[in-house]
Structures are given as C-alpha cells and as structure tokens.
Symmetry: C2
Subunit: 481 residues, 2 copies
C-alpha cells in the first residue's frame, strides 16, 4: 500500500510551498483544498472511483488542480498530448475507452473535437459539489496515469503507470540526487509527458516546490537559473542548447544554488556538456521513457564530467542489462527491470505483455563500459544498416554538432539501390557552411561508410512537444528528397 500522495503530504508539511506559477503560490494545504474541490465536482459530474477519464490541458495551476483532483477522486487519467490533431485525440479516446474527456476550454476550441462526452474546465469550475470519501491509502497497482507512446512501429500504445511505478521512480531519483529544504524544481516540460508529470509526483512525495511554466521561455528560464531561484530542472537537448546560447550571449552563469539539470530525451552532445560546464550548469544525463515512469539510469553528480555522454548507472531500485552480451563494451538491446516498469498497456495493446522474462525490451541500443556506466548508442528502430555495416545516427549527429556552425542535426537512413540504406543529414546552421565543409568535417572524424551521402539545410527539425527528434518524420523527409 502507498499513501495517497497529496493527502499524506498536506498532512506532513501543510505550509510548505507546493506550486508556484508566475507570481502566485500555493502551499500543500491549499493545493489539497483545490484538489478536493475538483474531486467533489467530478463526483457531482457522475465520476466515481475507478473510472477512466482523458485529460487535455496546458501546463497551468488549474491543470495541476485537476490532475490532483482526479487522483483524489480515484480516477485513472489518460494524459493527452495537446499537440495532437483532433483525429489522433479521437483515436486515443476510443482506444482508451475513457468515460469522459476533461478539457481546458481554449484547447477545446482550438482542436475542435465534437460529439465526445466531455467536461470543460469552466463547466467543472461552475459545477456543484458532492461529498466523496477519499482513500488514505492506495494499492501500489492502482493505475495513476496512462500515456500513449508511439513505440517503434504501428499505432500508439497506452502505457499504464501505477502508483507503485511513480513512487519508486521518485524514490530512486531522490537517492541519486538528494533532497534539501530549499529544493525547487523548474518544470517547463509538458505535464502530459512523463518528463513533466514526474516532477509533480516528486513534489508531493518529497514536499518540494514545483516552479511551473506554461511553456519554455529561454529568457525567463535563464533568469531563474542565474538568480538561483530554482535548484533543479529537466531539459532535452534543444532546450539545453537555447539556455546555453542565452548564457553565452549574456555572459552570465548559473547561481551556485542551482544543482541539477536533468537532461533526457536522447543523448546530449558532448560539446553541450562542455559548454554547460562553462555556464556552471551541472548537467546530468538521464535515460528513461514512458514505460519506466521517468528515469531508469542517471549519471550521479560526481561522475558528470568524468563520464560525460553516459546515462550513468541504473538507479537504486532499477536494473538494466544488455541483451545477449557478456562483456563490457559490447553493444546490444537495453533491457530494463524494476518497480518503475509498467505492468502493461490498455486498449488494443492490452493483451500484449510488455515484458520478456521479467525484462522490458526497449528497442534501444547501448552498452556498459568497464566501470558499469551505461551508454545509450541509439534507438534500434533508427539503426541504419548500410552494406552490412551498422550506423548509429546519434554518433553521426554528434560529429555534425561538433562543427561550430551547426546548431541542430538529424541523421536517418535513405533507401539506396546498392547499399540498402545510406545515411543522410538534415542540418540547421547558424553561419556560413557548405555541404563540402561538412563532408570534409565528417570524413575527418568518421569511418567513410558513416559519412552522410547528402546534407540538407533546413530551418528546423521535426520535434515533438518535448523537443525530442521525430526520427520517423525525418525518414519521411529523406524519402521525399
């Protein structure tokens, strides 16, 4: 059994700040009161413990209140990505069999969904209340959230994340990062992704403030980091790059209060890590995914520089092994086990067991070095096999990014009559650079077969709401060239 996070937390430290947004703040007691209000209104709207709803909203305090209200009411929440098309949302509503869609009014009008049983935030707000009894303890297997993840092929699968998954994830993380009274986690990641949602979970389990932003705004973020008004932050490569650019432009560095920049969503290029060091930003690379309710491995602070590029070691309660390997240094598929691993999917994938012999096959390729540090090489689905040789896009991208005028790079395979597939690169540049320059640069640093056969200059790369590179879309671009 696991204590109802918010009930327990608001009883332990009612007067600590739980949430801040712009210039407003809420204590854990106030957060609980807001959430209880929502829960009573949900009850009035006919929702009862065990019901599954879908939730679509921006990263605002109201959204946080609705999330905690749903949890107090005992609901399972399908977290919908606010960048989805109406068609994709309808598909997920259908697949998840959600009883109601709870949707923020503006997004509702933007997306233009119709004929779906729904409750808007405003109608919920103006609703009457009805008494409800709130469970003080949760079963560890209780589903808290469901997040759809595209996986490697086919339709998205709805991943169950239980109370036990989220809780053990938060606990593993605290044993790695530590915890102090002044901790404040800056959240600019979408709450509908595990990267953002897991910050809300840590907040109620740790008694830690979340500093919430509706969206990533480089100047405001850098201001917080410079002043030391936050101590932790989660980023992906692109947001890290913008932060670094801004710091370098202004000549500022991060305040010593700021302790952890958790960098996920794919490998962070080495030169970002070096630049971050100059800006006094302690970047810790992490490796996690929707199926593991956030981090599985994270580099510890003391290894950040010595093991730059590594995702660290599997956190305290987690296990990782590399399929069919015996020695350090051998590449293979990353397999994950632990209390943070999803028990399974819902909807069309409900019958599919995510585990093989107790281990989650990730499709990702990685290896452990001699000291047991995990290096994620790439996503298996993106592996480019060219004339029998394996090419890992991230390796090529890293080389491209080491060129001073390249700000973003995405590499994928393009069908080729002779070699089966060849790598091609999409490039965002910040200064004068030619295709020939890049070819020479790559030839200096890579085996010939790894050098992209074409360099396409673009304004931006295809990315999702978390700024993760959409490799499938990149392949579609390549196919059209």
């Amino acid at each position: 059994m696991i204590p109802n996070w918010l009930l327990k937390r608001s009883s332990l430290t009612p007067n600590r700040t739980a949430l801040s947004f712009e210039d407003r703040q809420w204590t854990f007691l106030q957060l609980k009161e807001e959430a209880v209000l929502i829960a009573r209104k949900l009850r009035m709207n006919g929702l009862v413990e065990g019901d599954r709803i879908a939730l679509l909203g921006p990263s605002t305090p109201d959204m946080v209140f609705v999330i905690h209200g749903c949890l107090l009411a005992g609901l399972e929440i399908v977290m919908l990505n606010s960048r989805l098309s109406a068609k994709e949302i309808l598909w997920q509503l259908d697949d998840s069999n959600a009883f109601r869609l709870i949707v923020e009014d503006e997004l509702f009008h933007q997306i233009g969904i119709k004929d779906v049983p729904m409750i808007t935030f405003s109608s919920l707000q103006s609703s009457e209340q009805r008494d409800l009894s709130v469970s003080e303890m949760w079963d560890a297997s209780r589903t808290i959230t469901i997040m759809y993840t595209s996986g490697t092929t086919g339709f998205p699968k709805g991943v169950r994340q239980t109370a036990g998954n989220h809780t053990s994830s938060a606990l593993s993380s605290v044993l790695n990062l530590g915890l102090t009274d002044d901790d404040r986690w800056l959240c600019t990641m979408p709450l509908f992704h595990i990267s953002g949602f897991s910050i809300l979970v840590r907040s109620v389990i740790y008694g830690m403030e979340v500093r919430l932003y509706n969206k990533f705004d480089t100047e405001s973020v850098v201001d917080e980091l410079r002043k030391g008004s936050v101590t932790r932050m989660s980023v992906v490569g692109t947001s890290l790059q913008r932060i670094l650019d801004e710091f370098e432009k202004t000549g500022n560095v991060a305040h010593p209060n700021f302790r952890t920049m958790l960098a996920g969503g794919g490998p962070v290029p080495d030169n970002y890590l070096r630049r971050a060091e100059d800006c006094k930003l302690p970047v810790l690379q992490t490796y996690g995914m929707t199926e593991t309710s956030s981090q599985t491995a994270t580099l510890s602070a003391e290894d950040a520089l010595r093991k730059s590029g590594s995702a660290g070691k599997p956190l305290f309660f987690n296990q990782i092994k590399i399929r069919d390997t015996e020695k350090a240094g051998e590449f293979g598929e990353v397999l994950i086990a632990g209390p943070h691993v999803t028990p399974g999917y819902i909807g069309h994938a409900a019958e599919r067991d995510p585990l093989e012999d107790g281990w989650l096959p990730t499709g990702d390729i990685g290896y452990f070095d001699q000291e047991g540090y995990l290096f994620i090489v790439d996503r298996r689905s993106d592996l480019i096999i060219s004339g029998g040789e394996n090419i890992y896009p991230a390796e090529v991208e890293n080389v491209l990014l080491s060129h001073p005028n390249v700000t973003e790079a995405g590499v994928c395979g393009k069908a080729h009559p002779e070699w089966g597939s060849v790598p091609v690169a999409f490039i965002v540049v910040s200064g004068e650079v030619t295709e020939e320059d890049l070819e020479v640069h790559c030839q200096q640093l890579l085996a010939r077969y790894k050098v992209p056969k074409a360099f396409y200059f673009v304004d931006q790369l295809p990315r999702n709401a978390s700024n993760k590179l959409l490799r499938r879309e990149l392949k579609e671009w390549a196919a059209l060239k």
Copy 2:
C-alpha cells in the same frame, strides 16, 4: 524485490566513503570487498543461504564487515545485546535456534559462554574461503535481522525485521530529513539495537558515510559536533544531556553543518530541547521501536521548536492511530501500520501475530493534537493507577527534571494498601537538594495525586545499552524500599 543493498550501492558510488572509525576510512567498494571476504569464509564454515546465525560483537569496523558479510551470504542475523548475561544469551540462542554464534573474541572471553556451536571473529578471519554466488536482488520479505525485545511482560520476543521493513524505514526517513552529498551520520548507538543498525542501513541505501564510535564518548562527540565533521546523529535523552552539559561547560555551540539530532528512546524533557536550541543543536524527537525497524514518526525540522515535545507526524509511508478515540487530544493506545512494521516473531512467540486487524498495538499511550502531531505520553505497562486516577511517569519525571539540581529522574508505581499504587521517584542530583525541596517543587507543578510519595536519592538509574530507562527494574527497586 529489493536490490542487495551493498552490492547495488558499491556499484553506484564505489569511491564514496562508507565508514570511518577513528582515523581509518573505507569506501563502499572496500566495504563490499571486506564483506565478500567474510561471506566466502562463512561459506567455508558451512553456512549457506537462509541459515540463521546469532551475532555478538562491539561497534567496530570488523563488526560492520561481519554484518554485511552475513547479509551477502544470505544469512538471518540474530543481533545479541552485548550487555546480556551468559544465561540470557543462551536463552536467546536456544529460542532463535541459531545455527552458529558468531562472536568477537574479547566478548566471548568476557561472557564465558561454553558448549555452544560458535565461530569467533579471529577464527573466521583466519578461515579459508569458498566460492559463493551472491543474490543481486532480495525478496522484500527476506529476514535481515532478528532483535529480541522485552515487550511489556514475560520473556523477550525475537522480532523479525525484513529487507522491506528496513528499506521502507530508510526511505521514509530520507523524505523527512533530506539528503545531501556531505551527509555523515555519527553512530554511537549500539549496532545490536535498531537505533544503531538502522544507521548502517541508511548508509548503504543513501550512499552516506557512517562515522562509527565503539562507545559514546562525550568529549569526542562534542568535538565532532563543534567542528561540523558530522551532519546527523542519533541520541537518547541521557546522551543528549551529557552533550548539552559539555557544550555548556565549554561555551561552544554546534557547527552549522550539523543538521539533525534524532532523539529517540522515550520523550525528551522540554528543558533539554530549550538548552539544545542554545547550543545550536537541532533536536528532532522521534518515536520508533524494534518492531518498526526504527522511526515511525519524527518531528520535521520546521516544527522542532513550535511543537517541542511532540514526536511529529507519521513518516511518509507510515500510519498511526490512537485506539478507540475520535477526537484530537484524546489519550489512548498508539497503533501503527506501514511497510516498516515487523511481520512477526520467531521462537516461542512465532505463532503470535503482532498485528490486530493490520495494526501493531504498541502498549504506548499517546494522543494527536489539533494539528495532527503525535505526543507520546507514556508506556501503558508503566501506567500508575492510583485511587482510580491515571498517572504517567514521564510527566512527573519531566517536572522533576525541571528542578535545576536534578540531573536524572525515574518514576514508578509502588504498591499501596489504600490507593492501590502510588508514585515514587528515584533521583540523581548534581547539587544540594532535599526531599522537601522536591516535594514543594512538584506540588507547585502537579496535581496532588501525581506528586511522588517518596524521593530516593541514587547514584544512577537502571538503563539498558541504549541508555533507555529500565522501568521494570525501577519497580523492583521501589518494591524493595
């Protein structure tokens, strides 16, 4: 499943300091190597996974190595109190059916046990080794330790403490106290008690250094606190008092690095808390016991002064309720539930379920105040009922200790023909004070029926190895008066 603590920890942070003793230090990797060596030697001595052994040793690094060696070898450890008589040890060996007694040589000679299958530390040290395979994961229900506790009446009962109990206790504590890279826990409590053993557990789960002392030495302890070379410490009232005396004598205060003085083993008198404040010692009262693998409730730092005298709120994963009460302020028996509560006893008490409807009845009397803070009033078994009125010894002791010349006080019931029982007091004084002075002092502060009917001046009070007042022994003293 729970990761094998030391294996996992030594893999995560091999080079952090795990243990220091006098001027020697061991990293987690070195600790693991020492423990593996012991485990292999235990294996050579015929001990196999699942065997139960009894362990008797002082608080030294060798003892720590043997403890971790036993855990790596998959053994259950009966932790024997080194102050027991030979007779008591033989009784516990018999009751626990321990396969071997592992005993430090000096203690072995001191206690003079004979005809028991045993292995001394020195014979273990000089033993050959044998290969063993160490489990990377433990079942949460695996018994780690067994500690005998006297309970309220009759024979001591061997309390099982599982991997899950110890782990959840450490996790609940970290969510209350926080964790930083510089944390070092000063351990002067006996390792055979849960107060000391739980520090070793936190060390391997947190990756935190234990600064180990063989025994409590006031001057050295105060020196560590003054220099800030440790950040946490566990104490009982008596050791706290000695620390306060020494600080006051020398005019020093604790270093700001020092963050938590965890005070258990019974209520700490209010005036200690005030004196501690002057010495810059942040004392947090805690409430725990052998059956709950250490802390169940602890006052958080932010409430230490405002709620002085309270044991705080039940920690994150724990629950407490007061039997048969409905409102705040009502006294009753303290009942405990949570993942830290023992699954049961071994030996003669094996058949006895420690829980009633999922809750552990503690025999202790307490109440929650309006804000949900727990106050432990006394042990039920020590309740003095006098003419139908309830008298809680701790309340009377608190009053006596508030007299400037009283350094220690123990109150218990003495049979009385008219009232059934009357309170009497045993007193250790530091200056001139008469029985009449004390009577007047008590009459000013207590209801008449609570004022001790006799004051006995003694050199010291009966205490166990953790310095906890032995109330049963006190009653025997009273009966002889």
